[in-house]
């Protein structure tokens, strides 16, 4: 196990550098700070020299990238063109997005797994068919359309929650955006739970448990769920990273001041440093969560052994 984790961590190193370099390279094409200057600033050679030095603009791209990554490892994510610290911005906004993502995952667990189990137990009945149909529609409908419709329905027409902003705090303000953010994956969790439980129900140990005369609830909980939730749990493991990336649209529509919103406006304003900083953090979250998932596999299912 220890050796496996170390090997996976070693494999991550080229992926980490590759992905962040790719982002850095693309952003350096659009985000040259000198092109974003006002005419007055452009007349100021001292300021241009300062920026050139600050962002190492005289160096070739690969050197610039290495200097940037070196800074990141010492915890310095750089400053924006207007002198704000990127770490400060991220620290301020990260908790908001994390709250949103965790709330979304709670929805996925509560609704996705519960309905999935109920559907599996009623296989072929109307509840099963209906929940699968709803799940497919949730997958097919684009996130932002669902966001508009729910915002209009619950925020404006019914007035149950504020249509945007987070002034009501958790959980009220986060319910609607978290549900929208969760919707696609929720449908996926539902189907995964159902399919996995159906497969488990067919296995020999379930029949044995039944033959021994154990109560059905106990069989479901101790034998069925325990064995069929492995793929679901591992899916939820990678979700955290995906949800944070997907928050761009949800945060935009519901006006939630998290990193998604910051990211989008930074791309618009060509604030390369912020985009690369947030991008790097998201890449790290993604890589670590996919490692976590692989390790979780072994913990949840003792039959899986890593050499």
């Amino acid at each position: 196990m220890g050796r496996y984790v170390i090997r996976r961590l070693l494999q991550m190193i080229p992926v980490f550098f590759g992905t962040t370099f790719l982002l850095f390279l693309l952003l350096s094409v659009i985000g040259n700070p000198l092109s974003a200057l006002s005419p007055a600033q452009r007349q100021n050679p001292a300021y241009i020299a300062y920026l050139t030095q600050q962002f190492n603009l005289d160096d070739p791209i690969i050197v610039r990238y290495l200097k940037y990554i070196g800074d990141i490892f010492t915890g310095n994510f750089g400053t924006t063109y207007s002198g704000q610290s990127v770490s400060g911005i991220v620290l301020e906004r990260f908790p908001v997005t994390a709250t949103l993502a965790v709330t979304a995952i709670i929805f996925e667990i509560l609704i996705g797994i519960t309905v999935g189990v109920m559907a599996a137990r009623r296989r072929g009945k109307w509840f099963d068919t209906a929940s699968l149909a709803v799940a497919l529609v949730l997958i097919a409908i684009p996130l932002f359309v669902l966001a508009f419709v729910l915002q209009w329905l619950f925020g404006i027409k019914l007035g149950w929650v504020a249509p945007s902003g987070i002034s009501d705090g958790w959980p009220t303000s986060y319910l609607l955006p978290a549900f929208v953010l969760a919707s696609g994956s929720l449908a996926y969790v539902l189907r995964l739970t159902r399919q996995s439980l159906l497969e488990t129900m067919n296995s020999d140990f379930m029949r044995t448990a039944k033959a021994k005369g154990l109560p059905p609830r106990l069989i479901l909980r101790k034998y069925g769920l325990r064995n069929s939730l492995i793929p679901v749990v591992t899916f939820l493991g990678i979700e955290l990273g995906t949800l944070m990336g997907g928050a761009v649209i949800t945060e935009g529509i519901f006006n939630i001041p998290g990193i998604g919103q910051e990211l989008f406006s930074s791309i618009r304003q060509q604030e390369t440093v912020v985009v690369v900083g947030i991008g790097t953090i998201l890449v790290i979250v993604y890589l670590l969560s996919s490692l976590l998932v692989d390790v979780l596999y072994a913990v949840l299912d003792p039959r899986i052994r890593y050499e």
Partner: protein, 304 residues
């Protein structure tokens, strides 16, 4: 397959020999799948409006250049003149939605073909040669998968500016191909050691022939299913990117741009959102359902 089924297959005219191949087995199952016929019916409708939009809508009503849109008609409800109402510019929402189908579906089709071709070729090479080739290619798959999707798309589309649908299509393809690559790679590794491959090698087939004639047909199945499902999801992705102002740009329009425009008029005129969004959802649903039906049919474990 039981004898009874074979008899049925023969009696309805199928070639009894061919009916034993994987594909005809799958087709046998598909013909009996309600989901398949439902999605096929939806897709015929979609294909109709993509290929012949002129049959059911008037192109003139989609542009002010042709005099079809008049600001005095802005945001009118459904009427005999405008079946599903008008948008902010006074254009006919139904005509726009019908003519907006082609770019939306085109993005999905081209991106799905692109990701499958790129992914299958690289996955096949990585899985077949193994060793260093595999290590390097697999890391490249990981790098592209590691880029957060929406950030990657936004950044790519800020860099590449191609006309019409090509920018979005390229961005979606570049970010999605590793999924197919990983899948084909895994299947190739599985097939590489099989007897039929060894037999082909013993008969003197070279690597190229083994890869293309023997491994590829056996390794591509699951990624084709994924391609069909992703085709639908790519149509949704185009809409999302157009909503962010990065997809298709005026004067071109698609379901994505229409939905994006509708966010301001939605409260006053809900049809401006619901018509394109509804057609889009139906189309995505049709492709997802088709992919599922095919995947069920190809999976021998689920066969009753």
């Amino acid at each position: 397959m039981s004898d009874v089924q074979l008899d049925v297959a023969t009696s309805i005219g199928d070639d009894p020999v061919a009916s034993r191949t994987l594909l005809s087995d799958a087709w046998y199952d598909l013909k009996r799948s309600k989901v398949f016929w439902f999605s096929a019916a939806l897709l015929v409708f979609v294909a109709l409006i993509v290929l012949f939009p002129g049959l059911i809508a008037d192109k003139a009503k989609t542009s002010s250049l042709t005099g079809g849109c008049n600001l005095t008609n802005a945001l009118l409800g459904p009427s005999s003149q405008f079946v599903l109402g008008t948008d902010q510019q006074g254009c006919d929402v139904w005509a726009l939605s019908v003519y907006g189908a082609r770019p939306s579906v085109a993005v999905g089709v081209i991106a799905a073909v692109g990701t499958t071709v790129i992914g299958a070729s690289l996955g096949l090479i990585a899985g077949f040669y193994g060793g260093k080739t595999d290590s390097i290619l697999s890391r490249i798959f990981d790098i592209f998968l590691g880029v957060p999707y929406i950030i990657g798309a936004i950044v790519l589309l800020s860099v590449i500016t191609l006309p019409g649908i090509w920018g979005v299509t390229l961005a979606i393809t570049l970010l999605s191909w590793p999924v197919a690559a990983r899948m084909v790679r895994a299947k190739t590794i599985e097939a590489r050691g099989q007897d039929y491959v060894l037999a082909a090698r013993a008969l003197g087939a070279d690597n190229r022939r083994i890869m293309l004639r023997h491994i590829l047909p056996n390794a591509i199945g699951p990624s084709i299913v994924v391609a069909v499902i992703s085709l639908g999801l790519f149509i949704g992705a185009e809409a999302t990117l157009s909503y962010l102002g990065l997809g298709i740009r005026p004067p071109d329009f698609s379901w994505g741009t229409m939905i994006s425009d509708a966010q301001n008029t939605f409260f006053a005129a809900p049809w401006t959102l619901f018509v394109p969004a509804g057609l889009l959802t139906i189309t995505v649903l049709a492709f997802v359902l088709l992919g599922e039906a095919v995947s069920d049919a190809l999976d021998p474990k689920l066969r009753k």
